[in-house]
Protein backbone atom coordinates (compact mmCIF):
# COMPACT_ATOMS: atom_id res chain seq x y z
CA UNK A 1 0.00 0.00 0.00
CA UNK A 2 1.21 3.46 -0.94
CA UNK A 3 -0.26 6.51 0.73
CA UNK A 4 -1.06 9.40 -1.59
CA UNK A 5 -1.07 12.67 0.32
CA UNK A 6 -3.12 15.32 -1.44
CA UNK A 7 -2.43 18.86 -0.30
CA UNK A 8 -4.18 21.05 -2.86
CA UNK A 9 -7.71 21.82 -3.95
CA UNK A 10 -8.67 20.29 -7.29
CA UNK A 11 -10.35 23.61 -8.09
CA UNK A 12 -7.03 25.40 -8.33
CA UNK A 13 -4.37 22.72 -8.69
CA UNK A 14 -4.09 20.05 -11.32
CA UNK A 15 -1.97 17.96 -8.93
CA UNK A 16 -5.17 16.86 -7.15
CA UNK A 17 -6.38 15.34 -10.44
CA UNK A 18 -2.95 14.11 -11.51
CA UNK A 19 -2.75 11.85 -8.48
CA UNK A 20 -5.63 9.77 -9.83
CA UNK A 21 -3.49 8.43 -12.64
CA UNK A 22 -0.99 6.84 -10.26
CA UNK A 23 -3.29 5.60 -7.52
CA UNK A 24 -3.23 1.83 -7.53
CA UNK A 25 -6.30 -0.13 -6.44
CA UNK A 26 -4.52 -1.15 -3.21
CA UNK A 27 -3.43 2.42 -2.37
CA UNK A 28 -4.85 4.76 0.25
CA UNK A 29 -5.28 8.49 -0.07
CA UNK A 30 -5.42 11.18 2.57
CA UNK A 31 -6.62 14.74 2.03
CA UNK A 32 -4.89 17.44 4.06
CA UNK A 33 -4.48 21.22 3.83
CA UNK A 34 -6.63 22.53 0.95
CA UNK A 35 -6.92 18.97 -0.29
CA UNK A 36 -9.78 18.81 2.22
CA UNK A 37 -12.05 20.61 -0.26
CA UNK A 38 -11.82 17.59 -2.55
CA UNK A 39 -13.84 15.55 -0.06
CA UNK A 40 -16.98 17.69 -0.34
CA UNK A 41 -19.81 15.36 -1.22
CA UNK A 42 -21.17 15.02 -4.73
CA UNK A 43 -18.18 16.65 -6.36
CA UNK A 44 -16.58 14.85 -9.29
CA UNK A 45 -13.23 14.76 -7.57
CA UNK A 46 -14.51 13.19 -4.34
CA UNK A 47 -16.22 10.43 -6.34
CA UNK A 48 -13.12 9.92 -8.47
CA UNK A 49 -10.99 9.36 -5.36
CA UNK A 50 -13.51 7.00 -3.83
CA UNK A 51 -13.70 5.01 -7.05
CA UNK A 52 -9.94 4.78 -7.45
CA UNK A 53 -8.36 4.25 -4.04
CA UNK A 54 -8.91 1.36 -1.69
CA UNK A 55 -9.50 3.69 1.24
CA UNK A 56 -9.90 7.46 1.53
CA UNK A 57 -9.09 9.52 4.59
CA UNK A 58 -9.13 13.15 5.51
CA UNK A 59 -7.39 15.00 8.29
CA UNK A 60 -10.20 15.99 10.62
CA UNK A 61 -8.58 19.07 12.13
CA UNK A 62 -7.93 20.54 8.69
CA UNK A 63 -11.60 20.04 7.78
CA UNK A 64 -12.76 21.62 11.05
CA UNK A 65 -10.37 24.54 10.60
CA UNK A 66 -12.00 25.27 7.24
CA UNK A 67 -15.52 24.80 8.52
CA UNK A 68 -16.10 21.98 6.07
CA UNK A 69 -18.76 19.59 7.26
CA UNK A 70 -20.40 18.42 4.06
CA UNK A 71 -17.80 15.82 3.17
CA UNK A 72 -18.72 12.53 1.57
CA UNK A 73 -19.38 10.00 4.31
CA UNK A 74 -17.05 7.49 2.70
CA UNK A 75 -14.04 9.56 3.70
CA UNK A 76 -12.77 8.46 7.10
CA UNK A 77 -11.94 11.34 9.39
CA UNK A 78 -8.65 10.82 11.22
CA UNK A 79 -6.45 12.74 13.64
CA UNK A 80 -2.90 13.89 13.04
CA UNK A 81 -1.68 11.01 15.23
CA UNK A 82 -3.57 8.54 13.05
CA UNK A 83 -2.19 10.18 9.91
CA UNK A 84 1.30 9.63 11.32
CA UNK A 85 0.63 5.92 11.86
CA UNK A 86 -0.87 5.59 8.39
CA UNK A 87 2.18 7.23 6.83
CA UNK A 88 4.41 4.81 8.71
CA UNK A 89 2.72 1.64 7.50
CA UNK A 90 2.73 2.75 3.85
CA UNK A 91 5.40 1.42 1.52
CA UNK A 92 5.87 4.95 0.31
CA UNK A 93 4.29 8.32 0.92
CA UNK A 94 3.59 10.06 -2.35
CA UNK A 95 2.93 13.76 -1.89
CA UNK A 96 0.82 15.75 -4.33
CA UNK A 97 1.30 19.49 -3.89
Amino acid sequence: MNLHIIHKSANTHQSAHNALHLIHQDDYIILIDDGIYNAISQTDISQAYLNTAKRCFLLNEHALARGIENTDKNFTHITMAEFVELSLIANNNISWY
Binding site: N2, Q14, S15, L22, H24, N93
Partner: protein, 117 residues
Protein backbone atom coordinates in the same frame (compact mmCIF):
# COMPACT_ATOMS: atom_id res chain seq x y z
CA UNK B 1 18.43 1.02 -2.76
CA UNK B 2 16.15 1.70 -5.73
CA UNK B 3 14.93 5.29 -5.94
CA UNK B 4 12.07 6.38 -8.17
CA UNK B 5 11.71 10.11 -8.74
CA UNK B 6 8.36 11.43 -9.93
CA UNK B 7 9.32 14.61 -11.78
CA UNK B 8 6.12 16.62 -12.07
CA UNK B 9 7.24 20.22 -12.52
CA UNK B 10 7.44 22.27 -15.70
CA UNK B 11 11.02 23.39 -16.20
CA UNK B 12 11.08 27.17 -15.78
CA UNK B 13 8.05 28.25 -13.74
CA UNK B 14 9.88 27.84 -10.44
CA UNK B 15 13.29 26.61 -9.41
CA UNK B 16 11.80 23.33 -8.20
CA UNK B 17 12.35 21.43 -11.44
CA UNK B 18 16.04 22.34 -11.34
CA UNK B 19 16.35 21.55 -7.64
CA UNK B 20 14.64 18.22 -8.21
CA UNK B 21 17.25 17.41 -10.84
CA UNK B 22 20.00 18.37 -8.40
CA UNK B 23 18.53 15.83 -6.01
CA UNK B 24 18.41 13.20 -8.73
CA UNK B 25 22.06 13.77 -9.62
CA UNK B 26 23.10 13.73 -5.96
CA UNK B 27 21.29 10.43 -5.45
CA UNK B 28 23.12 8.91 -8.38
CA UNK B 29 26.42 10.36 -7.18
CA UNK B 30 25.85 8.44 -3.93
CA UNK B 31 25.72 5.18 -5.83
CA UNK B 32 22.00 4.59 -5.54
CA UNK B 33 20.00 3.04 -8.34
CA UNK B 34 17.94 5.90 -9.76
CA UNK B 35 14.83 5.67 -11.92
CA UNK B 36 13.02 8.72 -13.27
CA UNK B 37 9.42 9.13 -14.27
CA UNK B 38 8.60 12.39 -16.03
CA UNK B 39 4.90 12.93 -15.54
CA UNK B 40 2.27 15.71 -15.63
CA UNK B 41 3.93 19.05 -16.52
CA UNK B 42 7.25 17.35 -15.84
CA UNK B 43 7.12 15.98 -19.39
CA UNK B 44 7.89 19.52 -20.59
CA UNK B 45 11.37 19.06 -19.14
CA UNK B 46 11.93 16.56 -21.94
CA UNK B 47 10.82 18.99 -24.66
CA UNK B 48 13.43 19.38 -27.40
CA UNK B 49 14.82 22.72 -28.45
CA UNK B 50 14.78 24.59 -25.14
CA UNK B 51 16.55 27.97 -25.21
CA UNK B 52 16.61 28.74 -21.52
CA UNK B 53 19.33 31.35 -22.00
CA UNK B 54 16.54 33.65 -23.20
CA UNK B 55 15.32 33.60 -19.60
CA UNK B 56 18.87 33.73 -18.20
CA UNK B 57 18.25 30.28 -16.78
CA UNK B 58 20.16 27.06 -16.85
CA UNK B 59 18.96 24.75 -19.58
CA UNK B 60 17.19 21.67 -18.21
CA UNK B 61 17.37 19.89 -21.55
CA UNK B 62 21.16 20.14 -21.47
CA UNK B 63 21.37 18.74 -17.96
CA UNK B 64 19.30 15.71 -18.96
CA UNK B 65 22.11 14.83 -21.37
CA UNK B 66 24.39 14.25 -18.37
CA UNK B 67 22.26 11.35 -17.07
CA UNK B 68 24.37 8.72 -18.82
CA UNK B 69 27.52 10.05 -17.14
CA UNK B 70 25.77 9.54 -13.81
CA UNK B 71 24.74 6.01 -14.82
CA UNK B 72 21.09 7.03 -14.87
CA UNK B 73 19.63 4.88 -17.61
CA UNK B 74 16.05 4.20 -16.50
CA UNK B 75 14.29 7.29 -17.76
CA UNK B 76 10.55 7.01 -18.34
CA UNK B 77 7.84 9.33 -19.54
CA UNK B 78 4.09 9.00 -18.95
CA UNK B 79 2.25 8.58 -22.27
CA UNK B 80 -1.00 9.94 -20.86
CA UNK B 81 0.73 13.15 -19.75
CA UNK B 82 2.23 13.60 -23.23
CA UNK B 83 -1.08 13.04 -24.93
CA UNK B 84 -2.94 15.53 -22.71
CA UNK B 85 -0.35 18.17 -23.56
CA UNK B 86 -0.34 17.66 -27.29
CA UNK B 87 3.13 16.15 -27.32
CA UNK B 88 4.39 13.10 -29.16
CA UNK B 89 7.60 11.15 -28.90
CA UNK B 90 8.96 13.35 -31.70
CA UNK B 91 8.84 16.36 -29.40
CA UNK B 92 10.77 14.86 -26.52
CA UNK B 93 14.23 13.66 -25.68
CA UNK B 94 14.86 10.28 -27.27
CA UNK B 95 16.42 8.78 -24.14
CA UNK B 96 13.03 8.67 -22.39
CA UNK B 97 10.99 5.53 -22.70
CA UNK B 98 7.26 6.27 -23.03
CA UNK B 99 5.12 4.07 -20.79
CA UNK B 100 1.41 3.66 -20.06
CA UNK B 101 -0.56 3.92 -16.82
CA UNK B 102 -0.11 0.29 -15.76
CA UNK B 103 3.63 0.56 -16.30
CA UNK B 104 3.79 3.82 -14.32
CA UNK B 105 2.02 2.13 -11.42
CA UNK B 106 4.25 -0.91 -11.67
CA UNK B 107 7.32 1.33 -11.41
CA UNK B 108 5.99 2.73 -8.15
CA UNK B 109 5.21 -0.72 -6.79
CA UNK B 110 8.73 -2.02 -7.34
CA UNK B 111 10.66 1.03 -6.07
CA UNK B 112 12.14 1.05 -2.56
CA UNK B 113 11.90 4.80 -2.20
CA UNK B 114 9.52 7.00 -4.17
CA UNK B 115 10.20 10.72 -4.15
CA UNK B 116 7.54 13.00 -5.58
CA UNK B 117 8.74 16.45 -6.65
Amino acid sequence: MKYLYLLRQAPYQSSLAREALDMVLATAAFDQHVQLLFINDGVFQLQKGQQADLLQQKNIEKTLQAFALYDINDVYCCSHSLQLRGLTTDNIDASAQVIDQAQCQALIQQADKVISL
